[in-house]
């Protein structure tokens, strides 16, 4: 597992600050250069101070953007230069309580937009940055301001925003329209049946609210990625959901059907929710067939390749972020491993997929 937090040492009296580890020559004020390396400790010089980073090789963090927290002596790797999976956690607050949530909500919100803005400005050219939570749109105005501010100097950046879709209103239309080219909205929908959806997200009325907001996103011409975690609770409704999507959400750019992540509530509710798609793919197959007959795109996230019937394998994406991805011992001998999504770091074999077969 790749560490997203590194042990760091620096002057404890300083306020948190953002730096980029320079990759070769220093390019701007916020670049920190390596002074020397001793016994696995990397010593860097930034504009106003010096700091150390432990437990990592210089080449692995070259180009990374770090948030140094002097009080806790930690460096957060906000942007890893060589990864496609960079996400800013906007907040840990949320108004839904999804059964399988991998990042359970917390009461307290810590505003980090200032640091995110500094980091975004130092991101590699053309980077796509994930914005997630919690529910990022609980701080909608600050979020929109952050995106606008980032784009004043870095209009090459794009953002992939994961939101529960509960917090748009008509007043957002002009903003959504004018920003549509560089924003991708990832929005979950669990069922075409409002009662089942509401039950899964733990919020009465959520589906009705979501419908209206989908309409806004459609009218704005926003790029929309629908996301559905498959579970015991909704798997039999997938063909109906596919029908609903093609009829009611024809403007969605893609539909991601996802396997569960065994962490957070997902871990707590695993046995209650996990659906072993390696044993039974009928409803998933029917949903996929309907989508392809209606020419709307569908992808499979977090499905190990061998758990998918061969005809549908081309839809599988290597969706698990590099820092939390792993393979099993039996994957060692597998010939399709390089194309396989693999497993979340916290996956357990004993209550996971029963049909793992190296290819």
């Amino acid at each position: 597992m790749i560490q997203l937090r590194l042990r760091s040492e620096c002057d404890r009296s300083l306020s948190p600050f953002v730096v980029r580890i320079s990759n070769g020559a220093r390019q701007c004020r916020d670049d920190a250069t390596l002074i020397f390396e001793k016994l696995g400790v990397l010593n860097y010089r930034a504009e106003h101070t010096e700091f150390c980073i432990r437990d990592v090789a210089p080449k692995d963090i070259a180009g990374d953007v770090l948030l140094i927290d002097p009080r806790r002596q930690i460096a957060h790797r906000l942007i890893r230069a060589r990864s496609r999976h960079n996400t800013f956690l906007i907040t840990e607050q949320c108004d839904q309580r999804c059964l399988m949530c991998s990042q359970p909500p917390k009461e307290h919100h810590q505003d980090m937009f200032e640091h995110f803005l500094s980091a975004a400005r130092l991101a590699p050219l053309g980077a796509q940055i994930g914005l997630s939570g919690g529910e990022p749109l609980l701080h909608k105005q600050a979020l929109f301001n952050f995106i606008d501010a980032a784009w004043t100097t870095r209009d090459d950046l794009s953002f992939h925003i994961l939101t529960n879709g509960q917090h748009f209103d008509e007043g957002d239309l002009p903003w959504l329209r004018s920003h549509r080219a560089q924003l991708l909205w990832g929005v979950p929908i669990y069922s075409a049946d409002a009662a089942i959806h509401d039950e899964i997200v733990g919020k009465p009325g959520a589906f009705a609210q979501l419908s209206g907001n989908f309409s806004l996103l459609g009218l704005a011409g926003a790029a929309l990625e629908l996301r559905t975690v498959v579970m015991k609770q909704n798997v039999s409704g997938l063909p109906d959901l596919a029908d609903f999507i093609t009829r009611y959400l024809p403007f969605a750019a893609t539909w991601a059907i996802m396997q569960m992540e065994r962490i957070g509530y997902g871990r707590m509710n695993w046995s209650h929710c996990f659906f072993d798609s390696s044993k039974e793919f009928t409803d998933l197959g029917a949903a996929i067939d309907l989508m392809s007959a209606r020419r709307q795109s569908v992808v499979l996230y977090n499905f190990p390749l061998c758990t998918i019937p061969p005809v549908f394998r081309n839809l599988a994406a290597q969706s698990i972020s590099d820092w939390k991805q792993k393979y099993l011992p039996e994957c060692e001998s597998c010939s399709t491993r390089i194309r396989c999504a693999g497993f979340f770091e916290w996956y357990r074999e004993e209550d996971g997929f029963m049909g793992i077969h190296p290819q």
């Binding site: 989908f214 459609g218 009611y248 959400l249 024809p250 403007f251 067939d289 392809s292 007959a293 709307q296």
Partner: protein
């Protein structure tokens, strides 16, 4: 609550095919239509309609936005690529009985592009506002002017980000230079294969020896560049149509998995010698018989042959965006990016328009490479290339899937305002769409097997064949 307007058509088994302007369709019986017409829909009707996006409460709610989107997706908008047909020569070394254009004998003079026209064609390409192009070489026999083909290909490869070339050839002659031209990955071959040896000979070569030569060349080309880059089309002469089984075997024998059944085109010079092409009933019943034989054969052999046009129409029914075939799009407004350039440099909106000009029925040229595009004429032609407002099409459930062919109407009827149902284009498409719906709703496993393979599905989802309560 409001129901988006519905259109009906009675099928042969008296059920009704019903669809809205966005192309959402379902089957119902006559009673449903009565209730709808009298505004007496019951609760289960309404539930059925709402679940399938046929109703809405107010503007800006999801049902409304979704309908607008589905409707918009049904309209064809150019994707910024061009599709241009070139006729570098009218000369040909065959004399097919149904030849659509006034071909010229191999030795004739004055039926080829000269250097000036070639230069102007290149300049025309240079000015096209696109980055992608497909260029189709027709004739005559285009390989008689391999020099022009090479000049065009060299230029297009430099000028466009993506260029593809299709040579429509009779494959009677192959030489080292032609084979070298074919070796490039961006060159495709389209040829005519009218069926078994004797029918092909009768229609096209009039000589068993020439037919044999063609067969050998076809095999050679297939070996050289592979079946992905070679396609073949049969032209069906309704005076002596081939047995479906024979025709399919002839295609299978060369490894083809798709064929596109076309009747002799009732236009140009073909119509003089083929009076049988006038009646569409004979074609429709042949076509149906062919499709059912094909389906039975597919299920018997487990190998799958596709009839391109039916499969294409089926894809158009099921979803928006199946716009790859230039002849069936709506709107299909003529522009310079979709044009035919004749041997004399005249530009036409379609091959049919070119033929009409050849037989001097009416000059539908939209300009020439010398004088440029005639914007006035383009503007004049535009409105007839959209079916959304046609007084007949607006009542037809197939309108979102269908297209227009005013040039064909002009050719057959001398005018473009005949009632749709009297036009060959409409009769042919009603028959194809009726057949597609009949197959889609069929529960025959043989039919489902063929449809699934054509559509690339594991199982045919029931949601694709809704039936009102």
């Amino acid at each position: 609550m409001q129901v988006w307007p519905l259109r009906f058509r009675e099928l042969t088994d008296h059920r009704m095919i019903i669809a809205d302007d966005s192309g959402n369709y379902f089957l119902a019986d006559g009673n449903f239509v009565d209730r709808y017409a009298r505004d007496e829909l019951n609760q289960s009707d309404v539930d059925f309609l709402s679940a399938r996006g046929h109703t809405f409460q107010e503007a800006s709610e999801l049902a409304h936005t979704a309908f607008l989107t589905r409707w918009a997706k049904r309209q064809y908008i150019s994707d910024g690529s061009a599709y241009v047909i070139l006729i570098p020569t009218l000369r040909c070394d065959l004399k097919c009985s149904y030849c659509q254009v006034s071909r010229a004998p191999v030795a004739a003079k004055g039926f080829d592009w000269d250097e000036q026209i070639l230069d102007r064609v290149l300049a025309f390409f240079d000015n096209l506002p696109v980055n992608e192009i497909q260029i189709e070489f027709q004739g005559g026999e285009p390989f008689l002017r391999l020099d022009h083909l090479k000049a065009i290909a060299d230029f297009a490869r430099r000028r466009f980000q993506q260029a593809r070339f299709v040579v429509c050839t009779n494959l009677q002659t192959l030489n080292a230079d032609i084979l070298e031209f074919l070796a490039s990955e961006d060159v495709l071959i389209s040829t005519s294969l009218d069926g078994p040896h004797q029918i092909h000979t009768q229609n096209r070569t009039r000589s068993a020896y020439l037919t044999q030569e063609f067969h050998q060349n076809l095999v050679r080309v297939l070996d050289l560049i592979g079946p992905e880059r070679v396609s073949a089309l049969p032209t069906i002469d309704m005076k002596h149509p081939p047995q479906p089984e024979e025709l399919i075997s002839a295609y299978e024998q060369f490894g083809f998995t798709s064929l596109y059944l076309r009747p002799v085109n009732y236009q140009g010079f073909a119509r003089k010698s083929h009076p049988s092409a006038r009646t569409s009933e004979t074609w429709t019943s042949y076509y149906q018989e062919f499709i059912y034989s094909l389906i039975a054969r597919n299920s018997r052999t487990g190998r799958v042959m596709e009839e391109f046009y039916l499969a294409h129409c089926l894809r158009r029914i099921l979803a928006p965006g199946a716009d790859s075939h230039t002849d069936l799009r709506n709107p299909n407004i003529p522009t310079g990016a979709n044009a035919v350039i004749d041997f004399d440099g005249q530009i036409y909106s379609s091959d049919e328009a070119r033929m009409l000009a050849r037989i001097r029925q009416i000059n539908l040229s939209i300009g020439s490479v010398i004088d440029g595009l005639d914007r006035e004429k383009l503007a004049l032609l535009a409105p007839s290339h959209i079916n959304n407002f046609d007084p007949d099409c607006i009542h037809c459930p197939y309108q979102p899937f269908c297209g227009t062919d005013p040039i064909d109407d002009m050719s057959r009827n001398g005018r473009i305002d005949v009632p749709r149902q009297e036009s060959w284009f409409c009769q042919r498409h009603l028959a194809v769409f009726d057949l597609a719906i009949e197959l889609l709703y069929s529960r025959d496993p043989a039919v489902e097997f063929t449809l699934c393979s054509w559509l690339g599905l594991e199982k045919l989802p029931d949601a694709l064949r809704p039936i009102a309560p």
